[in-house]
């Protein structure tokens, strides 16, 4: 899709239709103090695809992911250049409310980080602070729906009052996904969501990503190339802060255009 086509999409407001672009990044540079972490990256995130960011450690894929919902704002020395849009709206413009942005672009972190509160409270927290439920009944529904979508409901429905931190690692991560889903985001960013999990828990999360696809635009950062191949339709390969190659996952893994991509996915380095 060409740039003019994107602009047409934005102009006609057809951003949620299948194949529509949800987020775009153009010429993004990120600096930590004087050090440049991201160099001139442009990428599109569409609604019906899972987009995977792969690359060796320290290549900037997590940094770039965190620019998509302005989590880098919490790092005092971080500075972002370029244009990133959500539904055509510049998320770094002064008119964009960062709190609302993060509700619309949810995030799941590398290490499961449930609040040290009950399972119910973990899921209900987001809807509560955004006033998404008008009463206890509605809140109960949101919690149940979110936990069901995260594939956790059957396992925890009888112990919603127990602490979220008492769950197993995989359950905790699905609880974090439920928490992100509960505020009804449009995009979900996942920063290596399975790196702290065992293979069975990982398989469950991957299955979950499949199920969530289409309902939310999903961006996943992963170290695990098999995982990228399994869960994503589009893959971006980062190296040393630059975007080396971005294309259909099948293409990247079977027929990469760049030598560096080929070396990485065949295990030559990284």
């Amino acid at each position: 899709m060409t740039d003019t086509a994107i602009l047409d999409d934005i102009a006609t407001g057809q951003n949620d239709k299948p194949g529509a672009l949800k987020m775009t990044a153009r010429n993004v540079n990120v600096f930590y103090g004087a050090k440049q972490a991201i160099n001139n990256v442009s990428i599109d995130v569409s609604m019906d695809n899972v987009t995977a960011f792969i690359g060796p450690s320290g290549c900037g894929k997590s940094t770039f992911l965190r620019t998509l919902n302005r989590m880098n704002d919490t790092v005092a020395s971080a500075r972002v250049e370029g244009v990133i849009t959500l539904d055509g709206e510049d998320i770094y413009s002064s008119g964009m409310d960062v709190v609302q942005l993060r509700a619309r672009v949810g995030m799941v972190f590398q290490k499961p980080n449930p609040f040290p509160k009950s399972i119910y409270e973990n899921v209900a927290y987001g809807p509560r602070i955004h006033g998404l439920a008008s009463g206890k009944v509605e809140m109960d529904q949101i919690v149940e729906k979110s936990l069901r979508r995260a594939g956790l409901w059957e396992e925890v429905k009888d112990r919603l009052g127990e602490s979220g931190t008492a769950l197993s690692g995989g359950q905790q991560q699905r609880l974090c996904i439920a928490r992100a889903i509960a505020v009804d985001p449009e995009v979900i960013l996942m920063d290596e969501p399975c790196s702290a999990l065992d293979p069975i828990a990982t398989a469950k999360i991957e299955e979950l990503i499949h199920e969530l696809r289409g309902r939310y635009a999903i961006v996943i950062v992963t170290h695990n190339m098999q995982q990228a191949a399994r869960v994503s339709q589009r893959t971006a390969f980062f190296h040393l802060g630059t975007l080396v190659e971005y294309g259909d996952t099948s293409e990247i893994f079977t027929n990469p255009r760049e030598a560096r991509t080929k070396d990485y996915i065949t295990g030559r380095y990284g």
Partner: protein, 432 residues
């Protein structure tokens, strides 16, 4: 890879001469093991010794204090028979029933009548057996039941220090003899000194009470807590969560750390200069004491609070920010509740120090002789440690045990305060 052999590379290691196998059973090795075990034992013994020594000190302190102090909680009383109709006392009984009761009592020479009754009952030295404040007991009795003025009544009045000490087996021969005489007559008993928990300071050790100082301490601590806790916690939150990392923040941080180490008497001077001389707040008042101690306690709470806030894992902040919580929501919904147990611990330490502080309060006039419990935050008061300091300076022997008793009250107050804080801390830890 280049063909050069790099230092430390696999090729170099392979070419090095083969290492001799380690002799795990050699003498040198055995000796080393023995030495290690000895060091281990030595360290354990030293640690145990240190702990035992502190326990010994604590036990010594407690035994001495309780041994002396327990006697401070008892008071000997003498049964004084007064024949009111025959005494010189002139009081209009009808006046005692009206609103002028106090005036009528003040006008009568109860003191003289009490002394006369004692001399009549116990001989020429009889008046000296009674505490200087014995007549107060008589007065209270009359106020309570004016009808006794028509009859011959026995009234229990506090004994003089000499008799009191003799009853507890620690007095000069003269008092011992007097006590023996009274005991023979069955006119003496030693019981729990409720007046000690009710009264304020006095010049007579048999009449002193701790309530004045205790109430002063309570009011002062209330002011300290009400100021130091919110200001300290807010400062800690701002410095940790909001303040940009720059030279000014560093400067403030260093200043607060230094403030926590400033000798307490300097805070007293500051309080004197600012609160009394500049703001003209009342001297000796709990509000000034509380303000001064709050200055001293705040840095301790800030430092403890910052450490507690720092130890809240960043992943919790990320999680809250990730679902779209604002900075204030992150702080008040997540960071503060998680840091609260640590903050409370710091507050206990700071408040305990403030409770035991004497020096700064001397500077703002809280060492005055205050003979009635303070009625409010701006009335003259003294506090427990200052009261202890004042009594320990008294010449009269009766004050020795009162000093120990006051120390026990101070320790109990401290324990109660710490107990409350620990209860609160556990409560918050359970919730999270």
């Amino acid at each position: 890879m280049s063909s050069l052999v790099m230092p430390g590379s696999a090729a170099e290691l392979a070419s090095a001469p083969a290492r001799r196998p380690t002799e795990w059973k050699s003498n040198a090795m055995q000796k080393r093991i023995r030495k290690r075990y000895a060091a281990e034992r030595r360290f354990r013994l030293l640690g145990l010794g240190a702990v035992l020594l502190s326990v010994l000190f604590l036990a010594f302190l407690l035994i001495t204090m309780i041994g002396n102090g327990a006697r401070g909680f008892t008071q000997t009383e003498i049964r004084l028979p007064i024949d009111f109709p025959k005494s010189t006392l002139i009081i209009d009984q009808n006046a005692l029933k009206g609103f002028d009761a106090e005036q009528a009592l003040a006008g009568a020479d109860i003191e003289g009548a009490t002394a006369a009754a004692a001399e009549a009952a116990f001989g020429a030295a009889g008046a000296e057996y009674l505490s200087d404040g014995a007549w107060l007991a008589v007065r209270d009795r009359i106020a309570e039941d004016p009808s006794i003025l028509n009859s011959n009544a026995d009234i229990w009045v506090p004994a003089a220090t000499g008799i009191d000490l003799a009853a507890k087996g620690d007095a000069d021969p003269e008092s011992e003899a007097a006590h023996a005489k009274l005991e023979q007559a069955g006119a003496v008993k030693t019981g729990f000194n409720f007046a000690f928990l009710r009264n304020a300071d006095s010049t007579d050790p048999t009449l002193v009470g701790i309530w004045g100082a205790l109430k002063g301490s309570l009011l002062t601590m209330l002011v300290t807590l009400a100021l130091a806790f919110p200001i300290g916690v807010l400062s800690a939150l701002y410095l940790e969560e909001y303040a940009p990392r720059n030279r000014w923040t560093d400067l403030i941080e260093v200043s607060i750390n230094n403030l926590a180490a400033v000798p307490s008497i300097i805070f007293g001077l500051l309080g004197l200069a600012v609160f009394l001389n500049f703001m003209h707040l009342p001297r000796s008042a709990p509000i000034v004491g509380g303000l001064t101690l709050a200055l001293m306690t705040m840095p301790v709470i800030v430092i403890a609070g910052r450490n507690a806030i720092k130890s809240v894992p960043p992943s919790i902040r990320d999680a809250a920010l990730g679902v779209g919580a604002s900075q204030v929501q992150v702080v008040f919904h997540h960071v503060l509740p998680l840091a609260l147990p640590g903050i409370l611990t710091g507050t206990i330490i700071g408040m305990a120090r403030a409770l035991g502080e004497t020096a700064p309060l001397l500077m703002i006039g809280m060492r005055a002789f205050i003979s009635s419990p303070p009625g409010g935050l701006v009335e003259p008061a003294t506090v427990l440690p200052v009261q202890i300091f004042l009594w320990s300076d008294e010449v009269s022997r009766g004050f020795v045990e009162k000093t120990s008793a006051a120390i026990i009250v101070l320790l109990v107050f401290l324990l109660a305060m710490n107990g409350l804080a620990i209860y609160l801390r556990n409560k918050f830890e359970q919730r999270w």
